[in-house]
Subunit: 507 residues, 2 copies
Amino acid sequence: MACTSIQFLRRIMKHRSQSHLQPWNLFNKFRNRVLLGAFLLLVVSMEVTESRFLVKSLPGLPGDLPFTLETGYIGVGKSNEVQLFYYFFESEGNPKADPLMIWLTGGPGCSALSGLLYEIGPFMIDYANSTLEKPMLQINPHSWTKVANIIFLDQPAGSGFSYAKTPEAYITNDTLSTMQVYHFLRKWLLEHPKFLNNPLYFGSDSYGGIVVPMIVQEIYNGNEVGEGLHINIKGYVLGNPSTDASVDYNSKIPFAHRMGFLSDAIYKSTKENCHGEYLNVHPNNSLCKHYLQVVEKCLERIRKAHILEPFCDTLNTLKSDLFSRGLRSLDKTSMDIWSLSQLQIQGCREDNYLYSYTWANRKDVREALNIHEEYEEIEWVRCNETLRSPNDHKKVLSYTHTVPSTVAYHRHLADRNCRALVYSGDHDMVVPYLGTLKWIESLNLLVVDDWRPWFVDEQVAGYTVKYSNHNYNLTFTTIKGGGHTAPEYKPKECFSMLKRWLANEDL
Amino acid sequence: MACTSIQFLRRIMKHRSQSHLQPWNLFNKFRNRVLLGAFLLLVVSMEVTESRFLVKSLPGLPGDLPFTLETGYIGVGKSNEVQLFYYFFESEGNPKADPLMIWLTGGPGCSALSGLLYEIGPFMIDYANSTLEKPMLQINPHSWTKVANIIFLDQPAGSGFSYAKTPEAYITNDTLSTMQVYHFLRKWLLEHPKFLNNPLYFGSDSYGGIVVPMIVQEIYNGNEVGEGLHINIKGYVLGNPSTDASVDYNSKIPFAHRMGFLSDAIYKSTKENCHGEYLNVHPNNSLCKHYLQVVEKCLERIRKAHILEPFCDTLNTLKSDLFSRGLRSLDKTSMDIWSLSQLQIQGCREDNYLYSYTWANRKDVREALNIHEEYEEIEWVRCNETLRSPNDHKKVLSYTHTVPSTVAYHRHLADRNCRALVYSGDHDMVVPYLGTLKWIESLNLLVVDDWRPWFVDEQVAGYTVKYSNHNYNLTFTTIKGGGHTAPEYKPKECFSMLKRWLANEDL
C-alpha cells in the first residue's frame, strides 16, 4: 500500500518539507506536567463535549448497530492543533465493570480502523457479500469488545482520520506522540467520567511495542506525581511488539533458520562471520555481507507477516494507478468506478485491505462516522507510509524514531503494580517471537508458571510462560500458526487469550 | 484408524497366531536367485496373463475413465501364495517414453489406494459432492500420472486388496517384503514387455524409506549378476522417508524446539540430560525421563503429520463402533447405513479418509476394480495397523522390522549410476526434515547446487540442495508448509517438483 499513501501525503505535505523537524517543546518538558494538567482541564471544559457523536448505523451493516459506538475528535497540543480521532465501543459484556482498553494500531501511521476491522473490533468485512465498490460488513464473533470497553485511536496525526491544523503539527516522534496519547486519554476520561474507575489497559501490536510501554509508564508517573486525575492503569497487552530494534532485527535470521529457510551451513557461516549482528554490519566485513546476501536470496520472496502465506507484490500497476488518483473521487466520477471493477482480487491477504480503502473513503461512511465536512480533504489510508518509513531519506518524513528500545520501560514497569500480556504469532518474521522472548528473558523476572501449551477447543493454541516480579507479572504466549497481527490469523484463540487474561485466569 | 483394521485383522488372523514367525526361507536365499528367476518365468507364462483387467469406469466418476487403468493380481512366492494387487495407470503424457514408476504407500500396511486417492493418483474424492454413503470422485489436476506410468502396489499381503492364500504367508518382514516386490516387478515387466525400456523409478513416502532403497539395490544387484531380465532402473523418489530409526526419532525434539513448541530451557535440559538420545534412554537416567515427560506434555496434542493442523482424536466411539461392524456389510443391512449417516465429519483431515473406506468396500467398486469374488472376505482398510504397530506386544504381528536403518543402502546406491529425489514436508513431525538432512549429510556427498529456494507460481515452494557422487546424484528439497505425505498438502508444488526432476531440470 506504500505508493497510495506516499503520493497522497506528498501532496498534502508539500509545504511541510520547508520546515525543520522541531518537536513541540512543551510535550518534551515533563517537569511542566502539573501546569499542563491544569491547562488541559480548562481545554476540556471549553470544547470537547461537542466532539462526541453516537453512531447509530454504518453503511454495509444492515439495521441499527447491535453495540454502542461513539466517535469523536479530541484536540491535543497548545491550541488543539493535533486532532485525534477515535472510535469508542462500549463493552458488549458489562460496560460498567469491564476494563477500558485503548488500542493503538502500529506503524507508526496505521489507522485505528485497521486493527478494528481486521483484528479485534466488533465488525469486519463480509467478503462473501462484498464488492470492492460496495463492501459489506458483518459482526465479528471474536471481538475483544465482548469483554472490554475499547477506544480505537488514530494516532499520531496523519493516521486514519486524525489530522493536524498546521503543517508543523504533523511532525512528531516517539516521545511526542506518546505525550499526545497521554493527553488524549486524560481528556477522554474527563469527558467520560463514568469510565474513570474501570481498570485501564493499553494495547497494541507491532510498532505499539515502542509507544505503549512509554505511555503506560507516563501514566504511572503521572499518577505518582499527582496530576489531578488518577488513572486506574492496570497494565498492557502487546502483540508481536517492536521492542528493541537490535534484538528484534537480529532474531530474524535465527528464526528463518529454525523455520527451515536457511540450511545449518548458511546459518552457521552467517552467524559466525557477522558475530550474530545483522543490523549494524561493519563496512569492511565483506564475508558477513556476502552471507547476508545469501540469506536475502533465501528470504526475499517469503511473506514476512506470515511465512506460510503467499508472497504478494502488493501494488500492481492497476492498484497503484487507482489509488494514485485518490479513492475519495469515487463519489464523483464514473471513471474511477470503472477502474475499481478492473481491480483483481488475487487471493492475497493484502487484497483484503483494499475493501477498507473503499469503505472508509465513501461519503456515507464518513458521514456515519461524523468525519466533519471541514476535514474532507483527509483521504483515509490503512497505513500512512510517509510516517513510518525510516530508511528512505528522499522522503519527507514527519515521524522521527527517537526511541530504539523500550526494554528499559518494561524494566521500570516491572517495579510497579502492573500486569503485562505479550503474545506472538509464531509464524511472523516481522517481529519474530524469538527476539521477543530474548528481551523478556533479559528482564530477569522469576518464572512462576513454566512453558506449557494452552488450549482452545482442546487444540494447542500456543505455548505460554508466566513471569513475575513483586506486583508485576508478565504472561508471554505464542499464538500457534499466527502471523504478525495474530488476531487477524487466529481470532478465536486470541479472543480466548484476552478473555482469560483479563479475568486473571491462566491461559 | 487403528481399531478398525485391528479388529478386522484380529478376526481374520485368529489362527495365524498359532504359528511362529518363520520368514519364508526361499526369499532370504539370495544365492538361489538364478534358479528362482527361471522358475518365475515359468510361473508368468502359466498364469499371469489372466490376472490383467482393464478398468473402463469407476463408481463415483461419471463416464468412461479419461486415462488407462489396469488392475490385477500377481502371485509371488513358491506357490504364488502371496497375491499382490496393483493399479497401473498409463501416463497421460507419453506412455512410451515417460518413466515407469512403482509407488508403494508406507506403513507398512498402508494400501496403494491411499497414496493414489490422497496423494498423487489421477482421481481423488470430490468432497463437495460426496456423502459418506456415496463418495464421488474427481480428476486430480496434479496427478503424477501426467508425466509417468505408475504402478500403485498393495504390499505386503494384508495391505489394501493384497492377500495371502495361507496364514503363514501373511508373515513378513523388511527383507522378505522387499524380495516380494522385486519379484512382483519382474513378473509385471514380463507381462508388460513394452515398458521394459522405460526408465524405471521406485517411489514411496514414510515407511517406504525402509523398503524402497532395499528394493532398488536389489534391482541393481540383480542387473549386475544378470538374472535374465535387465531392469532399466534409474533411481528413486522418497518423501519424508523413514530411514534410520535412531536419527529420525532423535530429530523430533530439536524439530519441536525449532518450531516453537519447546522453550530453549526445556530443550537444553532435555538434550543435555539425555545426551541427544531420546529413543534408547538408559533406565537409570531419571532426569532424562523427567524432561522427556515435560516434552511429551508439550507435544501430546500436536498433530504429528502436520503440526499446524488440528489434532483429532481419530476414532471417536461412533466411528469405532461403525467400523468394528465391518464396512462391507454396508451392501447388506440398512442399519449400517443408518450408522453411517450419524457419522460426524468434524473438519479433521483424518475424516477425509473415511470416504476411502466406504468407497473401497462397495460391491460395485470392487467389481469395477476386478477384486475377485473368491477374495470378497478382504475388508479394505486404509492402513493395516496389525502389520505396522511394532510396540504393542500383546498384538499378533505379521510384520517384523528387521532393518532399522537404510542409510547403508543409500551409501551403496551412491556408487551406482542412480538418481535420488528426497523431499520433506517441512511441517511434518512424524519424520522431520531435520533427521532426513542429517543422514543425507552423513553420506558425505559433494554439494553441487547449494541450498536455495525454488519456486512454483513465483512462490517459494521449498528449499533445495543437490548432492553428487560420480554417477549418483541426490536432490533434497523441503516442501514449504507441507506435512508428512507432502503431495496431500501441496499437490501443485509436489507435481512441479517431480515433473522437473524427471525431466532432469533443476527444481
